[in-house]
């Protein structure tokens, strides 16, 4: 895939409007490392910040700052203030030197253990938060797909097309919710995971050659939900088919057909 489509995705991502499969694709692209898109996002964020600054400033209610400062005063953020705090050992004054030494040793030892443990807990907490955030993002995507599919179904122009397993996968099933101008979604079940380096690719077939309509992977239970972009010019689609192709997708179907709608 050339880079051009990603530039459009990057812009849409920068204003927080990327959703569905596009967002999944773009985040994957970004995670793989792309200096061009990173730069686009950075420059866009700076431009939007300048835009925010160009509006007249507004002093927020003073209560906000007061409350923040109070909150700050009662907490020490994790991982800061690494200087050991002096530990009061006044009670030990006058006691035997050995006792003081032993107590100080124990105190330091216990404190050190606590601090180490706190550090571990903070790291675990951070890892957990990242995981929850990631899972939440995945769930949000899924909900967005279902919600959009349901919205699409409300449209009287939408049609539901059944896909049947072909060749070695007779048990595989699929449904396409299709709208002639808005595109649609494909939902598949009972497909085996694609072999490494491979992915499933969807095709829309009208009067001309099959048009690629995106690649997708199935989850561990053999299911997938995938957004289908509208066909250019709203040309009618007669057949939907899924083939097994290389991971990046191809322009013409080459691999075996695993699902197809009836002609």
């Amino acid at each position: 895939m050339n880079h051009e489509p990603y530039e459009t995705l990057a812009a849409t991502y920068a204003v927080g409007a990327l959703d569905g499969q596009d967002r999944i694709d773009f985040e994957r692209h970004l995670a793989a490392g792309c200096d061009v898109c990173e730069a686009t996002l950075r420059e866009s964020a700076e431009a939007l910040a300048t835009l925010a600054r160009s509006r007249p400033p507004m002093i927020p209610p003073p209560a906000v700052k007061d409350s923040l400062l109070r909150r700050l005063a009662t907490t020490t953020p994790v991982g800061r203030d690494v200087r050991p705090r002096p530990r009061p050992i006044v009670w030990a004054a006058g006691a035997v030197a050995a006792v003081i030494a032993a107590a100080a040793f124990t105190g330091t030892y216990v404190a050190a253990r606590y601090e180490a443990q706190l550090g571990v807990m903070a790291r675990e907490l951070a890892a957990l938060r990242t995981r929850v955030e990631r899972e939440e993002a995945a769930l949000r995507e899924e909900v967005a797909i279902y919600r959009n599919a349901v919205d699409l179904l409300r449209d009287p122009q939408a049609q539901v097309v059944t896909l049947r397993g072909q060749g070695p996968n007779p048990a595989a099933t699929g449904r396409v919710i299709w709208h002639p101008t808005n595109g649609g979604y494909v939902f598949v079940a009972n497909l085996p995971s694609a072999p490494p380096g491979k992915a499933y690719e969807l095709w829309t077939i009208g009067d001309a050659a099959p048009q690629p309509a995106g690649v997708f992977q199935v989850d561990a239970s053999g299911r997938a939900a995938h957004r289908i972009a509208p066909v250019e010019g709203g040309k009618p689609v007669k057949v939907f088919a899924v083939t097994l192709e290389t991971e990046a997708g191809v322009q013409q179907p080459q691999g075996p057909m695993v699902l197809a709608s009836a002609k």
Binding site: E7, T8, L9, A11, T12, A14, V15, G16, A17, L18, D19, G20, D22, R42, E43, S44, A45, E46, A47, L48, A49, T50, L51, A52, R53, S54, R55, P56, P57, M58, I59, P60, P61, A63, V64, K65, S67, L68, L69, R71, L72, A73, T76, P77, G79, R80, D81, A144, R147, N148, D151, T181, N182, G183, A229, P230
Partner: protein, 183 residues
């Protein structure tokens, strides 16, 4: 100027509460109007503002000046949290249609008045956004201020998704040019 912001964040990362107070005084007046514009209610905007600065204090150690200015760091954060807030409200009220932004609603499609007139009509100063062609300004406002996704914008404007994405891209490219030229 950006360096001062970055320095403040670095001091905050080291636990400096006075740096935080300076940081707040510097950026709260910039992000508060943005938050207010998105959430509309002053009480909600105050909540979001507090949340945003609290997170800035918490996340200060993770800030990397090479990845952007402190101002962009805060503006992005403020916009995201404000949108989270209106999306949560929208989910609760089970309306899938976002309220139209005043700016968008006020924009007549038949004849686009020039940027200055439009800004004056809204009672605001003219910004870089007002220098964009109407169709581009509209999609950016729906995305950035109303929190609509590309799919929702396409539905709202009854335009193909591809058109919406292209407008966003062209609009943002133009915005970057205008900002660069004026700074």
């Amino acid at each position: 100027m950006a360096t001062i912001g970055a320095d403040l964040v670095r001091q905050m990362a080291a636990g400096d509460r006075e740096a935080f107070a300076v940081f707040y005084d510097r950026y709260a007046p910039v992000v508060f109007p943005l938050i207010l514009r998105i959430v509309r209610e002053r009480a909600d905007a105050s909540d979001v503002l507090q949340e945003v600065f609290w997170e800035a204090w918490r996340d200060a150690p993770a800030y990397d000046a090479a990845r952007g200015s402190a101002e962009a760091w805060m503006v992005t954060r403020a916009r995201t949290r404000a949108i989270d807030r209106i999306r949560a409200t929208r989910r609760r009220s089970e309306t899938f249609v976002a309220p139209l932004d005043d700016g968008v609603a006020a924009a007549p499609s038949e004849s686009a008045p020039d940027a200055a007139e439009r800004a004056a009509a809204r009672g605001t100063v003219m910004t870089a956004l007002d220098r964009l062609p109407e169709a581009q300004r509209e999609v950016i406002e729906l995305a950035y201020y109303a929190g609509l996704t590309q799919t929702e914008i396409a539905e709202r404007l009854k335009q193909p998704l591809g058109t919406v994405k292209t407008r966003i891209r062209l609009g943002l490219e133009r915005l970057r040019e205008v900002v660069k030229a004026s700074s």
